[in-house]
Chain length 436, copies 2
Amino acid sequence: MSKPLKVALLGAGVVGSQVARIILNEGPTLEARIGRRLELVGIGVRRLEAERPGIDPALLTTDLESLVARKDLDIVIELIGGIEPARTLLLTAIANGASVVSANKALLADDLGELSRAAEAKGVDLYYEAAVAGAIPIVRPLRESLVGDDITAVMGIVNGTTNYILDKMVSDGSSFDAALAEAQQLGYAEADPTADVEGHDAAAKAAILAGLAFHTEVRRDEVFCEGITGVTEDDIAAAEQMGCTIKLLAIAKLTDDDRVIVKVHPAMVANKHPLATVSGAYNAIFVNSREAGELMFLGQGAGGAPTASAVMGDVVTVARNRHRGTASHRGSSSSSRAVAPIGESEAQFYVSFDVVDRPGILARCAGIFGDHGVSLRVVQQSYLADREGADASGFAARLGVMTHLTRESDLAVVVEELRRSDFVGSDVRVLRVEGF
Amino acid sequence: MSKPLKVALLGAGVVGSQVARIILNEGPTLEARIGRRLELVGIGVRRLEAERPGIDPALLTTDLESLVARKDLDIVIELIGGIEPARTLLLTAIANGASVVSANKALLADDLGELSRAAEAKGVDLYYEAAVAGAIPIVRPLRESLVGDDITAVMGIVNGTTNYILDKMVSDGSSFDAALAEAQQLGYAEADPTADVEGHDAAAKAAILAGLAFHTEVRRDEVFCEGITGVTEDDIAAAEQMGCTIKLLAIAKLTDDDRVIVKVHPAMVANKHPLATVSGAYNAIFVNSREAGELMFLGQGAGGAPTASAVMGDVVTVARNRHRGTASHRGSSSSSRAVAPIGESEAQFYVSFDVVDRPGILARCAGIFGDHGVSLRVVQQSYLADREGADASGFAARLGVMTHLTRESDLAVVVEELRRSDFVGSDVRVLRVEGF
């Protein structure tokens, strides 16, 4: 009988404790699928004293450096998150010849290239299915299944917390602050919700997805990122009026000149589009490619068990390779495509603003769009009689305008000009639109 | 510079011609992703004289045996379909040391185990993403992404032709024969539609999916298979009345005692279930697993370009392995789970039949269900006054009954008893129900 594959686990939080449970309880099943037994030799934690039912305290250590410095590890599973010390720990593990499984989107969004090259140089594996969209298998489909095709766009809902908050705003008519407070109370949002609500988490996933889809390296700081903190009840109502729902989207697209656009922002999504119906903790990712056409992947995007499923899929894959003395191809970053600035990105926009109620104002507003080559798809006018302060401000009507595909930089000029016009109120609101 | 990887293509039909186009036209892109050039050294065809724009006639041969007997092939792509000669050609290719990519669901449903073992013994790859659900990446997710989890059920729409025909019956109110004729005219159904409309194609895919999901070997002849030729306009109308749509489903489930149920049949699917809205040439597959929960995969299930996308993903994966002197793990069939007979399968059923209009008949009918432990969820009664022959037959009302979860064998006894009752018409119709 061959000796077991030695596994070290870094992190025993929501996901880590589930991963430990599966490795400890499902030994025979995993052995049958791998061809070798897995032996959990150590679990690196921040605090030894936390309650961890079913886990032998002798496995625990707070000295993660020494754990990964062991020369006999076959697999290191990193679930501590954040850039450091995770980055150094993984590079040490790789240098010592271990294959690595990580769910750390923040780290991978910054350092996937370096980690991949280190793993390749040592002939070990680096897998990270759980870093994007939880349980949804998306890394292998992009890295392998679609590698003979040319992907043109990836678009998805990849953050469950913001999806829950936006859902709440729609269903209860509550404000962002109220919906966030409720999400925090229920444990769906963290005490410091910045990474989720400002879009940073989604941006890290967008960087990873874009790199995989377009065979290049995209860093987190190249992703245009706008969170949902600015989404108002008025925005939600305007979306409803247009037959849309507001979702936080991560989008990666190829431009006509073969550069990459990567962006995260709230968008009005047409209700008939499948993404509009993705609710709560679910994530969904659309992929468009030249030969395959449109593909969709849907599943739970977070949570201990779903994320552990993705981690364990990687662990078994890596263990099988290890058992057979091989490693998988790391995926190519052969294209070296550049990331285009957001100004060169195209989108449809919904622009809304107050106007004075005088003859000819609609034409003058439409003229500002037309002057900059922005063509309009829908124009809606509503009166503000009911609205508090409508009389005092002198603005008696509100215009809502949906454009055709427009360059971000052109739209910015239009918005600037609207804001400067004495017949337009200063609160010019802009939402991007998808699914029409 | 290393020498190119030599590729032989068997079949240049709808899919094969697209695969040839991609290999011939996308050389530099494929080389960048693989790390080696692909060289298409021969294309096995049935007839040399067919028009094949862009393909050098010197590549063509009708002698497929000699093509795969070459000792210098790295990859053989099999797109001719059917059991023989495909099976012998692939075994010859493997024996000669070539890795193999196939889209041949009929062959794989019968011989995946034998082909896998042959490939493993020679240390070469066998990939077949295109054999199930066209462009949708489902083989890798089942074989790798979910391999650390326990899948409990797979359910999907995996045949576009029948999906198109059923769509037509719903939208136009047309009969099966009329809808089939239209599908044939438009090229969506073949001149001999048996494999599609009798469910054989879906059953082959179900066998492959079940084997992958449950780590066992399932043969096509172990799949319960009922096609759509018996679906009537009355069935479509009854489904509509129940808030459902009729779809041909492929279902694989684990039983409580760890056996496998695999079945293909038309089913009433609740309109609120995402499968109900999958239309036309689209395929969709739901996967339920213990840790990950519910996952859905959607995409084009057939057609030259989408299927070629899946084939080329396999070709690049296999070529990368070849270039690096390795092969992937073949996936495990470690569980040896048995396939349970269909009678032990459980489902919800919709049963409809004519009854004489006498007091107490509803109670007597309900009693027949109750006697066999079948509990009812919904009972609907409609009158047949409008229906031709209603008076002559003596049956004045029609009952539609939806059951709770029921064993197939129990339901069969109920149906038999209903048919024998003098107050029930002989045409007792049964449809399975999903999504409630």
